[in-house]
Amino acid sequence: MLMQFLASGFMLGSVYGLVALGFAAIYKATRVFNFAQGMLMATGAYLAVTGSVVLGLPLVGTIAFVVVAAGTLGVVIQWLLIRPLAGRPLLAMVMITIALSIILRALIVIIFGGGAQTLRLGLPEGSFVLGSVRISAIHATAAGVSWLCMALFMVFFRFSKAGLLMRATADSHEAAVLSGVNVNRINATAWALGTILAAIGGVFLGQLQVASVELENIGLLALPAVVIGGLQSIPGAIIGGLLVGLIEQLSSGYISPKARDIFVYVPLLIILLVRPWGLFGERELGRV
């Protein structure tokens, strides 16, 4: 059983890692602790419903629709809500993202109704056996695509010019401005990417379960994931996501599905108490 739990934990954790990576990208570039990340993930599932059911697009078209729509949503959020509040206290930013999350939920309920929607994208179904472990094709696809997206993001972040400017802005906002970096554009890019990553995670979780606003609760697991991994660390977010997936599967497998939250949030508390910069984050060198 252990191997089975570990395998499904790894696969779910890969999707959590993807959503957490989106959260970390936004936090790193703009210093906004985005409580709406869970709802952005749920929004991704509904964008997929819109693409496949409402617009009747094929799989590739639906994916393209989700990516473009989520990216646009991220830019609009940054433009309308985050940018005008630049320089305001942390509390204002946090309240904005909570309000955003509530508004998105209300919009989804108004447009799609409160009930859950089934999402069938035509991804490979069925399952296969690997050693002693049975793996569902959808879980394997979700994990594979998540890792592909994470790899693409890492390549972008490490090696592209926009990625370099994003890292520079994350390092010192003022130095970036003084070097001629258009910080607003960088922040918009970060929000677009963070929203796209959340939405892709939402597409898969909507497929594994159903598309519902309650997906938000799963998306919010990105928060303990990044805090455990280290808010400042991109690889830390991915590893944090994997850990949360493993903890979830092991605790629901051996104890009870209800035990998940305890075993995810207790480590969060312990980390905050003894190592607030996370497992892989760096202690701040000084005040920014």
């Binding site: 320089g87 010019k161 370099l164 400017l165 890292r167 520079a168 994350a170 390092d171 010192s172 003022e174 130095a175 970036a176 401005v177 003084l178 070097s179 001629g180 970096v181 258009n182 910080v183 060198l285």
Partner: protein
């Protein structure tokens, strides 16, 4: 006079008044002109308004809750008053800020690449090579994380990053702060080499008046937000007021 000066001036500050939200006027009718390739010192004690003037030029006042109340700033004839700070950099203003402000988590090479991001790729590559020639120390450490270098090396890097953007004029704010005198001398000597190589004009803000007057052609003295004296570096260095207030008794050795 102003017509001729405008055509040649790379930086022209005219009648600038600036204020902070809570405080009285921080700058009062400040004007200064830097000719192409000129090296100009801006002297003044703590709180005289030097940093406010720098921020008024670079467009950073709003970020520090200040306002440019009236007056204008031009770079090579283009009015930059009220433009966003990053746009001003693109128009040719290179900045070496107080406290260096390098990107601590990026490598030396990446810091320079960020500086060069505002110019075409080929120009940037050429500029970065030139920076490595001027500061071989940076070339040796190109893969090192900037935050792990010494203060002097970080200062070289901040200067190099600004140079990588191929600026028409460099604003250099308190370069000597917190550095050993021997390192400061070495970096200042390189400023002359920079001018010789690229013809870059410079506005050098310094508390260490002796140093600044040694390398600059002309100087302005700012006191309580007002320009109280300007002239050639030699004239300013010879004035009693400067000898007493800024150069101390050793000023006579200039």
């Amino acid at each position: 006079m102003s017509g001729v000066a405008s055509a040649e001036a790379v930086l022209e500050v005219q009648g600038v008044f600036a204020a902070y939200a809570a405080k009285a006027t921080a700058l009062s009718d400040v004007s200064l002109t830097i000719p192409a390739g000129g090296m100009v010192a801006l002297l003044g004690s703590n709180g005289a308004g030097k940093t406010t003037l720098i921020k008024a030029i670079s467009g950073l006042l709003p970020l520090h809750h200040g306002t440019l109340v009236s007056g204008s700033v031009r770079i090579a004839g283009t009015n930059i008053t009220g433009l966003r700070a990053d746009r001003i950099v693109r128009l040719g203003l290179g900045q070496v800020p107080e406290g260096r402000l390098v990107f601590k988590h990026l490598t030396v090479e990446e810091n320079l690449q960020v500086g060069a991001a505002v110019v075409p790729r080929a120009v940037g590559r050429e500029r970065i090579a030139a920076v490595y020639d001027l500061f071989p120390r940076l070339a040796e450490r190109r893969r090192q994380q900037a935050g792990l270098m010494s203060g002097g090396e970080q200062q070289m890097l901040a200067l190099g990053r600004a140079l990588a953007s191929a600026p028409r004029i460099l604003l250099i704010d308190e370069l000597s702060l917190g550095l050993a005198p021997i390192i400061v001398k070495a970096i200042y000597a390189q400023l002359r080499a920079v001018r010789a190589a690229f013809g870059t004009a410079m506005l050098v803000v310094e508390q260490n008046a002796k140093l600044a007057l040694e390398i600059c052609d002309t100087a302005y003295v700012l006191e309580r937000g007002v320009i109280v004296m300007s002239g050639s570096a030699a004239e300013v260095a010879a004035s009693d007021r400067i000898r007493e207030s800024y150069l101390g008794s050793s000023g006579g050795a200039l």
